[in-house]
Amino acid sequence: MTAEEHAETSAALRRARRFALLGKLAPLIFLLALVVIFTSLQPRFLLPINIFNVLRQVSIFGIIAVGMTFVILIRGIDLSVGSLVALTGLCAAVVAKGGTSGGFSDAGDGYHWTIAVLAALAVGTLAGLFQGMVVAWLAVPAFVVTLGGLTIFRGLALAIGNGGPVSGFSPEFGWWGRGLIGPVPVPVIIFALVALIAYLVLTQTRFGRSVYAVGSNPEAARLSGINVNGITITSFGIIGFCSGLAGFVLAARLNSAEAVAGTGYELTVIAAVVIGGTSLYGGTGGVVGTVIGAVLTGVLMNGLVILNVSPYTQQVMIGLIIIAAVAFDVFIKRQSR
């Protein structure tokens, strides 16, 4: 290789690196830009009460988005999360109430709230593991399996709740959705903890490394001794667990659980993950991006409400932003190759 050719190569390399860095920072830059725009249009946006309001909204789908990060990193997808939130929320509610009947005041007959949490988490995790096994062992595309899960879990939720809501929980139960620690809402703290644990798992453990390896090149991962099916099943178990946790927190916040809860969550959650820079092609991205993506999605929704944009237009804008984020991801991949 001549000196000239070498200089040429490293120039191309530098360009590729610049683009890779830009791809990493883009969501953060975009988030800050949105905050600046919304604040300049409506200063009330930056009040602490509004900020915590945004964060509380974000926390429920943010918890699921953290789980979704694992699944998307291994080139999967989970469309069933909204239905699973409804199912697990109802499970928690039914356990806490001791049945589907009873009005708002009646909180006495059921089990302790800890049992209710465990029920939600167990049902969520088992549902996720089940879907993961079908994806891994039967090699059915995750899109199809979880599309099936979407209707199965919604149907189960309707069956359990008899179609109606189950409402009115003990204060201890409700604290998990409506409580505060200092000025900070409890769901926000749960979201932060889940994100922190997921971050540590993905960056500091062999399991996390394997998740990235499987998403980057499943065949190479298998040849390197990684149990690709195991990683797949576990990742779906994680998102199931996260959905169960979110289902419980949502029920606690609303003081009610019903079968139509969480409708459309899958899209918000996938949007948050993708906007946060995790590639739908697997292998790149992470929890930090997902947290930024979730907050960005929340800020966008809240800002549009504050600016009195109609809910219909909001949906259009969010859809356009998802497409733009993926287009940007593809563009960066091409440039930094």
């Binding site: 453990t205 490394r209 990235y212 090149n217 190479a220 040849l223 001794g225 149990n227």
Partner: protein, 533 residues
């Protein structure tokens, strides 16, 4: 498949005896092609007159695929000219070559597996009637006619994927017939055919020739070349080494022209005659499972590898080398036979189990099977877990970084930032990282499949030194390579495979590249060439 040989017209006097005159239909004049500054094809010229069947010969990497890609419009030449019927042509895309009358029957069949036979034959040029509706009556009629000419008795409505490899090839040839192609290029057409099917193909080639179609026949198998082809061109290192009439040339001469340089390079062991240790791996009568209607790739393979020994496994594409390695490493199920590790029967339970038993496997395809693209050099090194994690699977980044640094130094890996994606490195450096991830596990047996494919000469030398080094440290090495000079330079012993069976086993010092090539390409006692030629 029923190809009725009696319907195939007999060739007039057999190959080599027909002397053809007239202007060539296809001419390649001084074609040159460079990739990333490396000249892979250097002023190669060849021509075909109508009805001529010309063999294109050469080892892997000699430039055969590049020629095919230039002639079929996949790549554009950097120098020289392609002429069709005297007119210079420039293909910007494969479709242009198709329109000009050149069809390629590829090694990995490029057909559309889910289409029906008729659709596959007409893909890209479906005839349309008014309103853009497809003229299915015409399609069916022409398909039946083309299949009839080839004596292929299959239902045009069947999906292509349900046919055998040989039948799929016939469909590709039928496609060329309906296109009224003037030139048909066949790239290793017999790599996965049975002897009977090979014979049928020979009849088809003769028929194409009789109809005035020129055929460029690319193959490793010299007996076929002698039987099917009139003329030949031998490539080596991107240049034409020789050409002439197949009938007037002996197979040993062809082998010498193809293998050539190996004589100078070989025997690079530096005289350090290490005493090999005890047998680490023994394979007894290993056979693979049949997949569907496919051929059994490994039929009867036996060999041993000792500690500190490099065993070369040589063979052409389709000989069953990689398939053998994959069974040993637990990637594919064993059909029959035994694998013994240290004399104990070993049933590998997946790659993880094989790794636990002290095996390592550097795969043949760096891009698709080895590297984790977009992940860092560090992660590409640690993917085999050369450093055991702590409690809760926590990684020990400090120890990993130190280990990686030691391998970067030992292997001379050129890398600025180990946290940058591995795809920033050159192919040679990527391959060194892949080797490092296995050597760092300190395996007892390392299978290395095509260690230097597609990397530059300097890195190749480094990799060779490394392989010798680890063997010197007592690792048993099973080396698979299509590069005969590489096998000669590294291996203590060489086992040759042909069609899933061992055709030779002996010390590298007592063999020659010509001898190996002969054993890779011909069965002793197989007399097809003699009968036909």
């Amino acid at each position: 498949m029923t190809v009725r040989l009696d319907e195939v017209p007999a060739r007039a006097g057999g190959p080599g005896r027909t002397s053809r005159a007239g202007p060539p239909v296809l001419e390649a004049a001084a074609l040159t092609k460079r990739f990333f500054g490396v000249t892979v094809l250097n002023e190669v010229s060849l021509s075909l007159v109508p009805g001529e069947v010309r063999a294109l010969l050469g080892e892997n990497g000699a430039g055969k695929s590049t020629i095919i890609n230039l002639l079929s419009g996949v790549h554009q030449p950097d120098g020289g000219q392609i002429r069709m019927q005297g007119e210079p042509v420039q293909y910007l895309r494969p479709l242009d070559a198709d329109h000009a009358g050149i069809s390629v029957i590829r090694q990995e069949l490029s057909l559309f597996p889910d289409l029906s036979v008729a659709e596959a034959i007409f893909a890209g040029h479906l005839p349309s009637r008014r309103f853009g509706l497809i003229d299915w009556a015409h399609v069916r009629r022409e398909t039946r006619r083309a299949l009839g000419r080839l004596g292929l008795d299959v239902d045009p409505r069947l999906p292509v994927a349900s046919l055998s490899v040989a039948e799929q090839q016939m469909v590709e040839i039928a496609r060329a017939l309906t296109r009224e192609s003037k030139v048909v290029i066949m790239d290793e057409p017999t790599a996965s055919l049975s002897p009977k099917e090979v014979e049928n193909l020979g009849g088809i080639v003769a028929q194409l020739s009789a109809e005035g179609v020129a055929v460029l026949y690319v193959s490793h198998r010299l007996d076929e070349v002698k039987a099917f082809c009139e003329t030949y061109t031998v490539l080596r290192d991107g240049r034409v080494i020789s050409d002439g009439r197949a009938a007037e040339t002996e197979i040993p001469d062809l082998i010498r022209d193809m293998a050539g340089r190996s004589v100078e390079i070989g025997r690079g062991r530096g005289g350090a005659a290490r005493e090999p240790g005890p047998v680490v791996l023994e394979v007894r009568n290993l056979a693979s499972r049949r997949r569907g209607r496919g051929e059994q790739m490994v039929r009867d393979v036996s060999f041993t590898v000792r500690a500190g020994e490099i065993l070369g496994l040589a063979g052409i594409i389709g000989a069953g080398r990689t398939e053998t390695a994959r069974m040993i490493f637990g990637l594919d199920p064993v059909g029959d036979g035994e694998i013994l590790l240290d004399g104990q029967r070993f049933t590998p339970r997946g790659p993880a189990g094989a790794m636990e038993a002290g095996l390592g496997y550097v795969s043949e395809d760096r891009k698709d099977l080895s590297i984790l693209p977009h992940r860092s050099v560090h992660e590409n090194f640690t993917v085999t877990s050369p450093v055991a994690p702590g409690a809760l699977g926590r990684i020990n980044r400090g120890a990993e970084t130190r280990l990686l640094a030691s391998y970067i130094e030992r292997l001379g890996i050129r890398v600025q930032n180990t946290r940058a994606p591995i795809t920033n490195l050159s192919g040679g450096n990527q391959q060194k990282v892949v080797l490092a991830r296995w050597i760092a596990r300190q395996p007892r047996l390392l299978i290395i499949d095509e260690p230097t494919r597609g990397i530059d000469v300097g890195a190749k030398e480094d990799v060779h030194d490394l392989v010798r080094q680890i063997a010197g440290e007592g690792v048993a090495v099973l080396l698979i390579s299509s590069d005969l000079p590489e096998v000669m330079a590294l291996a203590d012993r060489v086992v040759t495979l042909r069609e899933g069976e061992v055709t030779g086993d002996g010390p590298a010092s007592q063999t020659t590249p010509e001898d190996l090539m002969t054993r890779m390409t011909r069965h002793e006692g197989q007399t097809m060439a003699a009968e036909k030629g």
